[in-house]
Each structure stands twice: as structure tokens, then as C-alpha cells.
């Protein structure tokens, strides 16, 4: 769930105009007295209406604003003041709603919209958002959840400074770290899935989609319609809770959104007269067919047709670890084709490592380099195969950050010979959204993932009891910085990265975006289960597949 006051705060706190908030301690003080410096720190484009912008930025702002506006009684001032009060009330309501924990605004389409978009809508002061908030606040304002929400807000205030201004609209609420605070409606399978998604245990657009659908299948199996409602009506709301929980763990992928949309459409089409058991069976069947039709079989079809593009002696360059590209390469290899694969990988996820491992153990000839070696890897490439997170309606490829660099290098090779860039993508990943650059639509991952943590090197045989107990809880990308006790007990001289304290370093920001947008002119062909298309055909195919 998005914190609505958050995006509005970002431009101020992270704008270069306020460099005098060096440490976190005075930051809190500043929050209190923010009504004065605010007009100064405002973003340059709209300095004319500071009073309007002021209140949603700070929950405590209503009183200072009153005091400031009290002496002057011009009608305009009064109007402004009234507006400010109203906005402050809204902000308070939103805060209440936020404190209600992970619960979502109820309603059909709400959870489907990605978090970032919803956040910017609400920041605009849309009355829809506030009324929705009111409703949920009354419904779920439990006293027990309140202090926890307050703590979360506290934490956020500390980190406000670290949001990159350009991407301000993408910073939602901090990702959920535990299952605590999740609604009681959330099914255990979904709870587990949420954590797996967050930790990138389940990673990749199709995998996330399949895992979500399978979890929802279990939700539906365990579901009983409460007395007094019909399945078609209530199940949708029930699923919405699950979906909201998932989106707090990690913003939903396009494929997840598409799958959920299809599922909801199917639920709403169920005749209320159908008995519950039968409806549930048909729903499970629908999920199974959806998975096999849109993903499993689609993958086989794509792998088959993409493998035909591989010829003997080819050098295939791919980026990161796409499951469909892996399948394609393995299919081509099983067909007895002789080719070489060059994998380009990037920090911090290193998804290509797994791909390299799989391909190498299958017997392919694999070359591996990081993103700094693109221009060397691309030199003797004959084809580039890329996976996709999504294909936008304007034909652009929305995929793991770095994909655009690979596609660009392929198209602008020094020799002048262009390397064909082939994207493998199921139609379930097509979306009607459009994107021109990678800034409007994106996902911000935890910047701490960029901080390099060195595993404590134990060279001697005698294990330090403190040290041996530590490596276990430390997982993959989780940095030591997030766990202060660990970093303190390990030897202070081996403190690893100089970025360890980046959150306490003023003016230093880390940016860890997940995706980028590759221009359509870099993509020669999109291989889908419906055939091989140019990127310009994406909107047509999308319309076809959603209308049927």
C-alpha cells in the first residue's frame, strides 16, 4: 500500500536546494517547523501556490498553517486556509488509513493499478482516494495496529532524504519485511509467496505470475462464501486482500496484473446460481488452463520458434537470466545446433549466473561477462536474444535494467553490421500502458542491495563463535548494514564497503532501479506464442488477446 503523503514530500527533501539537513537528528526537528522553509524549498516550476501544496506534505502542518494565516483575513487567504485545513484533514485520514496496516482500499480495480501510479494519483489530492480511505479507516482502524504504523512512519521520515528526486513518484511505502501486520484474510500460501517475491526467490515475470496464480488457486480451494453474499461478489474482495498484500511485498508485475485481471473477469462472470463447489472447481480449472495456455505451452511454442532462428555457428548474446531465453537456447541445443552463448550480467541480482550454470551443465559453450564487457561481448555476436518483463503498447521493451544497453550496442556496433535483436515474450506480458523513458514507469528496489557486503572471511580453522553464528541469517542480497548487530560484532576493520553508512552520509543517494525501457527501433522481432511480430504489432496483439 502506498503512503500518499510520501511522493509529495520527496521533491522538497531531496531537492539539491536543501543541503543543510546534514544528519538525521535535525531532520526530525525540521519536520516540525517545515511550514516556514517550505515555500523556499519548493520545486521551482510551481512557486505560485505554496499554501496549497503545503499541508499534504506534513501531517502536523495544520496548526502552524493556521497560525500563519490567522492574522491576515483577506478572502483569498481565508479560502487558502480552508483549503489547507481540508487537505490537512485528508492527510490525517490517509495517515489513519496507513496505520490500519496492510489492508487495502476495498474495491475492484484498486489493487490492480501498480503502486506508483496510485501514489501519484493520491498525491494530487484526488477526492476519490480520500473517500476510499475514510471507508477503510472506519472498517479496520484497530488500536493494536496503530503503534506499528507509527513506527513505520518514523522510519520513513528518516529515509526521506535518500529518495532520488527524479524518481520521487516511484518510492512507495517501504517494502514489507515481515508477515506481521498482514490482514487475517491473507492466506498462508500468499503470505509465504509475498516473502519469496520480496527476496527475489521467485523472480522473473512469468515465474511470479505462475506462483501467484498457484497461490490463488489454494486461496480459492480454501475459500468458503460467507452467508449472505455470493461467490462472484465476495471472492473478488477476498482476493483483493491477497493482492494488496503481495503488492506491498513487491510491486506487481505486468504479467501478474494481467493474470489477476483475467481471473477477476472470470469470477465476475460466474453465474450466482452455480453451486459453490462447482464454481470453485471451474475457477481452479480456469487457473490451470490460464497457466498452461498463457505461460507453459506458450513458452514451449516460443522456444520452438525462437530456436529456429538459431543457426550453426551463431554467437548468441543474452542479458541477465530470462527463463524463456534459457528454454530457447536449450531447445536449440537439443536440436543439435552448434552455437556459443555469451551472457551479460549485472549487479545486484546476478541473474545471469544461474542461466550460465544451467546452460553450462547442459553442455553449451558459455561465455560470461558483466555489463562493463558489453562492447567486447557484442563484437562477435550474431544474434541477441532478450527476455522481457513487459512489452508496452508503443512497442518498447520493458525489461531488466541494462537490457537497453545491450540492445543499443547490438544496433550500433562499430563494424556497422547490425546484430538482430530478438525478444522472446509471452502475450500475457503485453500491456496497454505506454512508456517513453525508464523514469515514468519503473520499480525501485531497496538501495541497500547495492552495498557490497563481504562475507566474513574465515581463513583459519578456529571458528570465532560469534562469526560462525552470523553468516546463516545473512541471506543473498541482504546487506549487513540493515542488521546493525551483525556489522558491529564482525571485526570493525573488515567493515566491507565504504557505502556501509550511506544513509547517514548527507547528499549521497543510491539508486537501484529494476527496469529500463528499450526503444522500439532496437528490437527487430518479438517472438510470441502467436507468432513472430515486429514491435509495432504489440498493441494489436494485446487487443486481440484481451478481447477474446
Amino acid at each position: 500500500m502506498t503512503n500518499t503523503s510520501d511522493p509529495a514530500l520527496n521533491p522538497v527533501s531531496s531537492a539539491p536546494a536543501t543541503p543543510k539537513s546534514p544528519s538525521q537528528a535535525p531532520q526530525k526537528k525540521m519536520e516540525q517547523s517545515q511550514s516556514q522553509p517550505q515555500p523556499k524549498g519548493q520545486k521551482p516550476p510551481k512557486p505560485t501556490k505554496p499554501a496549497k501544496q503545503q499541508p499534504p506534505k506534513d501531517k502536523n502542518a495544520s496548526t502552524p498553517a493556521d497560525a500563519a494565516g490567522g492574522d491576515k483575513l483577506s478572502p483569498a487567504e481565508l479560502k487558502k486556509q480552508a483549503k489547507a485545513e481540508k487537505a490537512a484533514r485528508r492527510a490525517r485520514e490517509r495517515a489513519d488509513r496507513e496505520q490500519a496496516g496492510g489492508s487495502a482500499p476495498a474495491g475492484g480495480q484498486g489493487p490492480n493499478t501498480p503502486a506508483g501510479k496510485r501514489g501519484s494519483d493520491a498525491a494530487g489530492g484526488a477526492p476519490v482516494g480520500s473517500s476510499k480511505g475514510q471507508k477503510t479507516a472506519t472498517r479496520r482502524g484497530s488500536a493494536q495496529a496503530a503503534p506499528q504504523g507509527g513506527a513505520a512512519a518514523e522510519l520513513k521520515k528518516k529515509q526521506e532524504d535518500k529518495n532520488v528526486a527524479v524518481f520521487g513518484h516511484l518510492y512507495g511505502q517501504q517494502r514489507r519485511n515481515t508477515v506481521a501486520g498482514a490482514g487475517k484474510e491473507v492466506h498462508p500460501a500468499v503470505l509465504a509467496l509475498g516473502l519469496q517475491l520480496r527476496d527475489y526467490v521467485i523472480c522473473g515475470s512469468s515465474a511470479r505470475c505462475v506462483a501467484t496464480l498457484l497461490a490463488f488457486k489454494r486461496v480459492i480451494e480454501a475459500y468458503t462464501t460467507p452467508i449472505g453474499t455470493s461467490l462472484a461478489r465476495h471472492l473478488t474482495t477476498h482476493l483483493s486482500h491477497q493482492i494488496t498484500y503481495l503488492s506491498t511485498c513487491r510491486p506487481l508485475s505486468i504479467s501478474q496484473g494481467n493474470a489477476i485481471r483475467a481471473l477477476k473477469l472470470f469470477i465476475s462472470s460466474i453465474d450466482p446460481s452455480v453451486p459453490e463447489a462447482q464454481a470453485k472447481t471451474s475457477l481452479c480449472e480456469f487457473i490451470d488452463t490460464f497457466i498452461s495456455e498463457k505461460i507453459t505451452v506458450a513458452d514451449q511454442v516460443i522456444a520452438g520458434s525462437a530456436a529456429q532462428k538459431i543457426k550453426d555457428g551463431d554467437v548468441i548474446v543474452t542479458f541477465a537470466g530470462s527463463s524463456i531465453v534459457k528454454q530457447t537456447l536449450l531447445t536449440a541445443f537439443r536440436q543439435g545446433k552448434k552455437f556459443r552463448v555469451s551472457i551479460i550480467d549485472s549487479r545486484p541480482l546476478f541473474e545471469g549466473k544461474n542461466l550460465a550454470r544451467t546452460l553450462a551443465s547442459a553442455g553449451l559453450e558459455v561465455q560470461y561477462s558483466l555489463i562493463n564487457g558489453i562492447s567486447h561481448a557484442i563484437k562477435d555476436a550474431t544474434k541477441v536474444f532478450l527476455g522481457a518483463h513487459a512489452m508496452t503498447s508503443n512497442g518498447r521493451l520493458y525489461s531488466r535494467v541494462g537490457t537497453a544497453l545491450v540492445a543499443m550496442s547490438a544496433k550500433e556496433r562499430a563494424g556497422g553490421v547490425e546484430v538482430p535483436v530478438i525478444v522472446c515474450c509471452e502475450t500475457v506480458k503485453f500491456t496497454d500502458r505506454v512508456a517513453l523513458d525508464s523514469i515514468v514507469v519503473n520499480e525501485i528496489a531497496d538501495a541497500d542491495e547495492l552495498v557490497i557486503t563481504q562475507e566474513p572471511h574465515q581463513l583459519t580453522d578456529l571458528p570465532d563463535p560469534a562469526a560462525t553464528s552470523q553468516p546463516a541469517p545473512k541471506k543473498g542480497g541482504k546487506p549487513a548494514a540493515s542488521n546493525p548487530s551483525v556489522s558491529e560484532t564482525t571485526t570493525p576493520k573488515n567493515n566491507g564497503s565504504p557505502l556501509k553508512d550511506w544513509r547517514d552520509t548527507p547528499n549521497l543517494q543510491l539508486l537501484n532501479i529494476m527496469y529500463d525501457v528499450t526503444p522500439a527501433e532496437y528490437v527487430d522481432m518479438v517472438v510470441t506464442e502467436m507468432g513472430s511480430l515486429p514491435p509495432s504489432a504489440v498493441p494489436i496483439v494485446h487487443r486481440m488477446s484481451t478481447n477474446t
Binding site: P16, V166, R347, A356, A360, I371, H376, G402
Partner: protein, 435 residues
């Protein structure tokens, strides 16, 4: 080969220290091994080490003949270049020293007509230059280095006297014992004077190496304006100084690509301002305030996010490893895609580089310029099973073609890439380009 007195890790600092005490041939071997083992890495460190070594070589080489001096420097230079052919600054410094010697020799030939006796009264000064190689190290900054210059002005050397006085003593180039100050004969004044001139020139080169970043940063305010978003890559001190200079006057935002895996640690340290323990960097730089201390917002990104952010970037400022005469450059791996992405987004690319990095090399085989590094930085030893199966590559450098660069800023000012060949011909003599 490292000196017993120096407990330092092998590198520039230990080399310069050992240069004072070790005989000249030991020092040459020492530098060669340092270059071969890549214990001296940065192009400026290489250039500085080469310049100091050549100064010792010249001051130790007690030949009477300019051509013999050239021969000696050439032979040392060849060995250094063979030790690390991709470190082009080594060759550049050798070429500049050769050019100095030739210039001096020609000046002498020109001055043939104001021939005067090789005065014996200048003899007291003769031991100075070749007294002890370390002497000149100590006395670099006081005025003592200027003394031979005045003696030269008083007694121009003539070609005639050069030829008419065959070398009586056997201080052949390469004899370690030739560094001893004994055994002077009055007939050598003029040789010492030519050497003093050359030594002066080398000192100027060394001074230039020390000042080059400051000279470049003087142009910073011409190129960075307020509220700009600047993208840079690697922890190049030249770029950092350039940005710092601008930061003193203007507020802008820096996006810093971390250049994983070869330079990310230094980049992180540069960005966060934590003290580097890199002994190759000279001490003044490690005491420098980082950009963030000047109120500049620095955003650190992984290299993969360059394309995503390029649409917001106003200018790309890059450091380089060496610059080629055709305007292309050899820079840290990853630079090429950054420059390419900038070109795609119509963002100007500015390369800051000292003139000493400018190499008279026209590249035909780009692969020969590229050095490959430690692949364990890409996949660590914990993934040993994987490394056995696959081919891991870690290129250290990229060749960036000239058309991707919009502007070069050197200590001489700003130049278009197409103009660089002119600067090359200004700095290196034709006969030295392939010595």
C-alpha cells in the same frame, strides 16, 4: 626486487623511494617488474614513475654524446614499453624525453657559431647533475636545478667540441658504477650541460604531471552550469577535481556509475568520501573533500542503469586511460556503452585528460589495445564450479571511437577530437613516434 628498506607494498611510492638508493639498473628492472605485475596501474602513476626513472637514467648516464643519450633512453624506453605495451603513457613520457634531448642537441648545433671554449670555470658545477641520482630528487623544488641552466647560457656547447672530445672514460650506458661522482675530467662540461638541460625538461614534465589535474579543473566553470545533471564513471581523480572545482561555485547533481567490478571499491570510496587506503594515489588527493561535502547531490547507480537515466543527464564527463591520435580513447570498460548511450540521447560527452595521456598511436587493431583483467572479480572463488565450466571475461578497457566524444579538455584547453593529431605533433617528434 623491492628494496629492503621499504616496508611499503610495491607501487609508485615504494618505487620512488627505492629510486634514491638503488643503482640505476636495479631501478629499471624494478619498474619493469612493477609494470609487468601491474603493481603500478594508474596511467598517472606510470607516467610519474617513468619520468623519475628517466631522470635518474639521464643523470646517471655520463655520455658525451647526445645521440648516445638518445640511444640510452631509447633502450630503457623500449624495455619499459615491452614490459607493458598497453600502458601507453610510458611510451609517451619516453618520447617526450627523447624529444627534449633532440631539441637540446639541435639547439647546440644551432649555437655552433657562438662557439666558445669549454670553460674550465664551470667545472665546479659539473658534479652536481651527476652527483647522485637522489640528489636531484631532494633538490627538485629549490632553485638548485636552475644552476646548470645559467652555466649553459654562459658557455654554449658546440657540436665541434662534442665531436672533438671523444669520451675518455668508459662510462658506457648501462654501467651501474657510472653513477659515482668520481673520475670527472674537465672535457665533460658541455655534456653535463646538455644533460642538465634535459634534466630540467624532465623536471618540468614531472611538475606538469603533478599539476595537470588542477590545470584541467581550471576549465570546469566553462563547462558546468548550475542545476546540471552530470554523469560520470569510475573514480578518476581528474574528473573528481574537475567537478570539485565547479562545485565550489555552482550547485549541480552528479550521477556516478560505479564501474563494477574493476573500480567499484574506489568509486564507492570516492563517492562516500571515506578515506582510501590506496597508496598509489598521492596523499593530497586522499585528503580532499568529497563532492557531497560541497553540497553536491551524488547519486550512485549500477552501470546497468546508465541508459535509463541518460534521458535526464545534461552532460557526461569521463576520465580516460589514454587518448589516441585519431581522437579515440582507451578508457575503463563500460565507457563505450556510456558514450554510446549519451550519443543516442544527444547528450554531450566531455573527456578530461592530461596531455601526457595523448599517445601518437593510430589504432588499427582495437583488440590489441584492450587489456583483460582478473576474472575472479566477475565470478568469485565461491563459484568455482561455475568458473570451471564457463569462460569468464573481464575486460579492463574499452576503445571509444572519436565520433562518440564531443570535447576533450586537456591542460592546454578544450579541443575537438579531430584536432588532437595537431597536439600530438606538437608534443612528440616524428622520429620518436616509433622509436
Amino acid at each position: 626486487m623491492s628494496p629492503p628498506s621499504a616496508p611499503l607494498t610495491p607501487g609508485l611510492a615504494s618505487f620512488l623511494k627505492s629510486l634514491k638508493t638503488n643503482p640505476i639498473d636495479t631501478s629499471i628492472d624494478n619498474l619493469i617488474s612493477l609494470l609487468k605485475r601491474r603493481q603500478i596501474r594508474h596511467s598517472r602513476s606510470c607516467a610519474t614513475a617513468t619520468a623519475y626513472l628517466l631522470r635518474s637514467v639521464v643523470s646517471a648516464c655520463r655520455t658525451s654524446d647526445a645521440s648516445k643519450l638518445i640511444e640510452r633512453v631509447q633502450s630503457v624506453g623500449k624495455r619499459l614499453i615491452a614490459a607493458q605495451p598497453r600502458e601507453m603513457v610510458v611510451g609517451n613520457i619516453v618520447r617526450r624525453v627523447l624529444g627534449l634531448i633532440r631539441d637540446e642537441a639541435e639547439d647546440d648545433r644551432d649555437g655552433e657559431f657562438n662557439l666558445s671554449e669549454a670553460g674550465s670555470e664551470s667545472q665546479p658545477q659539473t658534479p652536481r647533475a651527476s652527483d647522485d641520482p637522489s640528489d636531484s630528487l631532494y633538490g627538485r623544488h629549490d632553485g638548485s636545478a636552475l644552476k646548470p641552466l645559467s652555466s649553459l647560457a654562459a658557455h654554449p656547447i658546440s657540436m665541434f667540441s662534442l665531436l672533438s672530445h671523444p669520451e675518455p672514460e668508459h662510462s658506457l650506458p648501462g654501467t651501474p658504477g657510472s653513477a659515482s661522482p668520481s673520475g670527472r675530467s674537465p672535457g665533460h662540461t658541455q655534456n653535463n650541460d646538455i644533460r642538465a638541460e634535459v634534466l630540467d625538461g624532465i623536471n618540468e614534465i614531472i611538475d606538469e604531471l603533478g599539476q595537470v589535474d588542477d590545470q584541467i579543473s581550471a576549465y570546469a566553470l566553462d563547462h558546468i552550469h548550475s542545476n546540471e545533471i552530470i554523469l560520470t564513471h569510475t573514480s578518476s581523480t581528474t574528473v573528481q577535481k574537475f567537478l570539485l572545482k565547479a562545485a565550489a561555485k555552482r550547485k549541480f547533481t552528479v550521477i556516478h556509475a560505479e564501474s563494477y567490478p574493476n573500480n567499484h571499491e574506489a568509486t564507492h570510496a570516492t563517492v562516500s568520501g571515506t578515506a582510501t587506503n590506496d597508496d598509489e594515489l598521492l596523499s593530497t588527493e586522499s585528503f580532499q573533500k568529497p563532492l557531497i561535502a560541497h553540497g553536491i547531490t551524488v547519486i550512485l547507480i549500477p552501470d546497468s542503469a546508465v541508459f535509463a537515466l541518460m534521458s535526464r543527464v545534461n552532460k557526461v564527463i569521463l576520465g580516460t586511460h589514454s587518448v589516441l591520435a585519431n581522437g579515440g580513447l582507451v578508457a575503463a570498460a563500460g565507457t563505450r556503452v556510456i558514450a554510446r548511450a549519451a550519443k543516442v540521447h544527444q547528450t554531450p560527452v566531455v573527456v578530461v585528460s592530461g596531455v601526457y595521456k595523448l599517445s601518437p598511436v593510430y589504432p588499427f587493431d582495437f583488440d590489441s589495445l584492450i587489456e583483460y583483467g582478473d576474472s575472479s572479480k566477475v565470478i568469485g572463488f565461491e563459484d568455482g564450479d561455475l568458473v570451471e565450466q564457463i569462460d569468464v571475461q573481464n575486460p579492463l578497457y574499452d576503445y571509444v571511437p572519436a565520433e562518440l566524444v564531443d570535447l576533450y579538455i586537456t591542460n592546454l584547453g578544450g579541443h575537438a577530437p579531430s584536432y588532437l593529431y595537431r597536439i600530438v605533433s606538437d608534443h612528440y617528434r616524428k622520429e620518436d613516434i616509433s622509436f
